[in-house]
Amino acid sequence: MSEATAHSIEHHEPETSTGIPNKKVLMWAFLGSDCMFFGTLISTHLIYRKISATVGSNYLDIRDLFDIELTSFSTFVLLASSLFMALAVSAIHKGNLTSTRWMLFGTIIFGGIFLACQVYEFTHFVHAPGNELTLSSYRGDPHVFGSTFYLLTGTHGTHVAIGVLWLVGWLIYSFTGRMSVSDAIDVECCGLYWHFVDIVWIIIFPVVYLMEYAF
């Protein structure tokens, strides 16, 4: 029905009604939606936090399990990775691709350290001698804490992992020459996502970990 002329045209960002790029609006909408994902998970955790099926001798004091020093460390690492991310976005806006590459690399490494800490934490909890916390039980008896804890922090970990994969994609692009200053908006969207995932952890850390020491 239609005849066209040249194919494979130079892609240029179209002008938008608000002046904000389409991808950025999309990312903000997604993050708004993601707030509700984590909101649901966090409320599930808060509702179930103190509920134990077998009250009494098997009372779960999660402080016996938590390694707050390790989690504080990984929290610090994740927050620091946000700095790298911000620097990467700033660098690509200025057209400094070498600096962008290094900052992306730093973000990936710090994100990787956070994930490694989480993997260590999960295996440690599941195999803690005499204190095994699994998805469905604590010390071999049915319990809900493991269900909400692993699903909430695991969903967050999955978000971090997807972010790391996304950043690795950009890192590869920076070597193959597919990354240029015109991609700044894409890296910025990646940064928005990364900062959001960090902010969610800023909520999860006090609500899931620190609160156990207070109330």
Binding site: M1, S2, E3, A4, T5, A6, H7, S8, I9, E10, H11, P14, T16, S17, T18, I20, N22, V25, L26, A29, F30, G32, S33, D34, M36, F37, G39, T40, L41, T44, I47, Y48, I51, S52, A53, L135, S136, P142, H143, V144, G146, S147, T148, L151, G169
Partner: protein, 648 residues
């Protein structure tokens, strides 16, 4: 067609070598490949509509089986388990596979035309949401063929009905199919909504300010926000349920510390906004139709939009009125009761605005207008019973009775479906290029209106005298028989009406005897009516510069300074996106992965070992990732068209 309008002069564009994983279909593809790889919002809209109409027939057959079973006392057309499967599949199908995608069909087809855009913001993502919807619909209905058959848990899937230990059939897979299909359908809805939000916020034609947007586009925007904020709740609830069923977690397992009550909260935090997700598009459609057929501008445009937004906002604060009888305590029930009553205010405002629009107008009773009027009257009856239910003591009396069934069918058929049918009769000439037979349309309306009322009005009475819903039979001596028989007869009349309507919609694309529609058969007001019917692939030859709210009307009857102007065509002409296989591959990967995930034993065919479920899941996951990677590598692509100025 459009060929003569194309300027063949080659523009000066650089050709760039692309990474080709496998060749991308060009713009010249035709036939099946065209439909499988299309990223044109109009074709996507048509595919949504056609598939949803098919599911409407399927869900309708399920409804007729339910009605046949209730014809008289102790009927044995369906066993109790089959009956449970029928109402589960009927509810799930009608909500997720009929009303939502029918709305999505109009969002896709009409909304970009109403704002003067060439396509949506992310055309390939739009295709992905279409194929995800397909995959979800297929997954749900595949459940009939595996252990346990279709889910028998209700569309609400209350715990502990979904608990594996309480399954009627050992290894019942129905709830697994239900969980996974709803997850895929959720992905489809979320992707589509992100797309529509970005499109409406960012891709309006010059001069198309937010307060000049047609009401239907406004409702699209509000519904999209409702979807992105409400669906996460059910996504997480379903994920928790999936963990419960597959990995033995205890979220909703009351034997091991979980609380079934939580499922109800999570489900209805999604479920109540979902009600507005279903009804607001129909309200948008009706707000477009009534001014056109009353020959008057819409009365109280700002108020209609504001009350739509308020309805959407308050929709998040009333979910617990579905749970008044669960024992939440006096404070919670009172608060939710008051908030529920408050929602009647913005709804009432809308209805008075529609009446105000018609007041003193020169009303034409064409089929779209008849359906719109049917919408207003029937939705009002559903609304009145809704206000009754907001009162806690009345709700406690009506809970789980046929009165509730009558209430929500008045809202969802008399409301949503009548509104959507009005939309079909209004906009199909724009989609197919042909006018439909008015007499047949009026016959469809008459059959549907009478059949609908004969079916559902008696249910109010049946509920009041105590017939429980979700119960597959009743004993002699309650006096239920007569009204049930009337309802069943009505249901068949309604079914015939809908079937003729669907036949009329589909045949209008093929029946060459029908009169051509021309640009503006209804003398309508919004800018999609300035385009030729059917709409050209590039939508607008020149981007219009909008001067007023009812632009098409002003173009025809308004003063010169209010006529729309046209933007000059740039050197690059109209940028059209390329076809792509990637969305289809990605959705296919997702489908295969889900099928792998929901099986727990090895898959055999005629005693021949085929694969373990994990192998299938990994294969599907790899295909999914491959689709995304190819998607990223092929880039946006595209080509340029140079339509002549005279073309619209």
């Amino acid at each position: 067609m459009a060929t003569e309008s194309i300027d063949y002069a080659s523009p000066e564009t650089k050709s760039k070598v692309e990474t080709k994983v496998f060749p991308r279909p060009g713009q010249h593809v035709t036939g099946i490949v065209d439909w499988l790889t299309t990223i044109d919002h109009k074709k996507i809209g048509l595919l949504y509509g056609l598939t949803a109409l098919f599911f409407l027939l399927l869900g309708g057959i399920e409804a007729l089986l339910i009605r046949s079973q209730l014809w008289s006392h102790n009927m044995e057309i369906l066993t109790n388990r089959q009956y449970n499967q029928m109402f589960t599949m009927h509810g799930t199908t009608m909500v997720f596979l009929v009303i939502m995608p029918l709305s999505a069909a109009f969002f896709n087809f009409i909304m970009p035309l109403q704002i003067g855009a060439r396509d949506v913001a992310f055309p390939r993502m739009n295709t992905l949401s279409l194929w995800c919807f397909f995959a979800g619909g297929i997954t749900l209905n595949l459940s009939w063929f595996f252990t346990g058959g279709a889910p028998a848990i209700g569309w609400f899937g209350y715990a502990p009905l979904t608990d594996t230990r309480f399954a009627e059939v050992m290894g019942d897979m129905g709830p697994d199919f239900w969980v996974f299909s709803l997850q895929i359908l959720g992905i489809a809805s979320l992707l589509a909504s992100f797309n529509f939000i970005t499109t409406i916020i960012n891709m309006r034609a010059p001069g198309m300010t937010m307060m000049r947007l047609p009401v239907f586009t406004w409702m699209t925007l509000i519904v999209s926000f409702l979807i992105i904020l409400a669906f996460p709740a059910i996504t997480i609830a379903l994920a928790e349920l999936m963990f419960d069923r597959t990995y033995g977690t205890n979220f909703f397992d009351f034997l091991e510390g979980g609380k079934p009550h939580l499922w109800q909260h999570l489900f209805w935090i999604f479920g109540h906004p979902e009600v507005y997700i279903l009804i607001l598009p129909a309200m948008g459609i009706v707000s477009e139709i009534i001014p056109v057929f009353s020959r008057k501008p819409l009365f109280g445009y700002g108020l209609i939009i504001f009350s739509g937004a308020i309805i959407g906002f308050m929709g998040f604060a009333v979910w617990s009125h579905h749970m008044f009888t669960t024992g939440m305590g006096v404070v919670a029930t009172s608060a939710f009761s008051i908030l529920t009553m408050l929602i009647a205010i913005p709804t009432g405002i809308k209805i008075f605005n529609w009446i105000g629009t018609m007041w003193g107008g020169r009303i034409r009773f064409d089929t779209p207008m008849l359906f719109a009027l049917g919408f207003i009257t029937m939705f009002m009856i559903g609304g009145f019973t809704g206000i009754m239910h907001s009162s806690v003591p009345i709700d406690a009396q009506h809970q789980d009775s046929y009165f509730v069934v009558a209430h929500f069918h008045y809202v969802l058929i008399g409301g949503a479906l009548f509104g959507l049918f009005a939309g079909f009769y209004f906009w199909l000439p724009k989609m197919s290029g042909r006018l439909m037979n008015e007499k047949l349309g009026k016959l469809v309306f008459t059959l549907m209106f009478i059949g609908f009322n004969v079916t559902f009005f008696p249910m109010h009475y049946l509920g009041m005298i105590g017939q429980p819903r979700r119960t597959h039979s009743y004993n002699e001596g309650h006096g239920f028989e007569a009204w049930n028989q009337i309802a069943t007869i009505g249901a068949f009349v309604l079914g015939i009406g809908i079937a003729i309507g669907i036949y009329q919609f589909v045949s209008s694309f093929f029946n060459k005897k029908l009169k051509p529609a021309g640009k503006n058969p209804w003398d309508a007001r919004t800018i999609e009516w300035t385009l030729s019917s059917p709409v050209k692939e590039y939508n607008f030859a020149r981007t219009p510069i909008i001067k007023s709210r009812d632009q098409a009307w002003e173009n025809n009857y308004g003063p010169k300074e209010k006529h729309a102007q046209q933007e000059a065509l740039g050197d690059h002409g109209v940028h059209m996106p390329d076809h792509s296989w990637c969305p289809l591959v990605t959705a296919l990967g997702l489908f295969v992965m889900v099928i792998g995930l929901l099986f727990r034993q090895t898959i055999e065919f005629a005693e021949l070992f085929i694969a373990t479920p994990y192998e299938i899941a990994i294969a599907g996951g790899s295909l999914f990732v491959l689709g995304i990677v190819m998607w990223a590598l092929e880039g946006p692509g595209g080509y340029h068209l140079f339509p002549k100025e005279t073309e619209e």
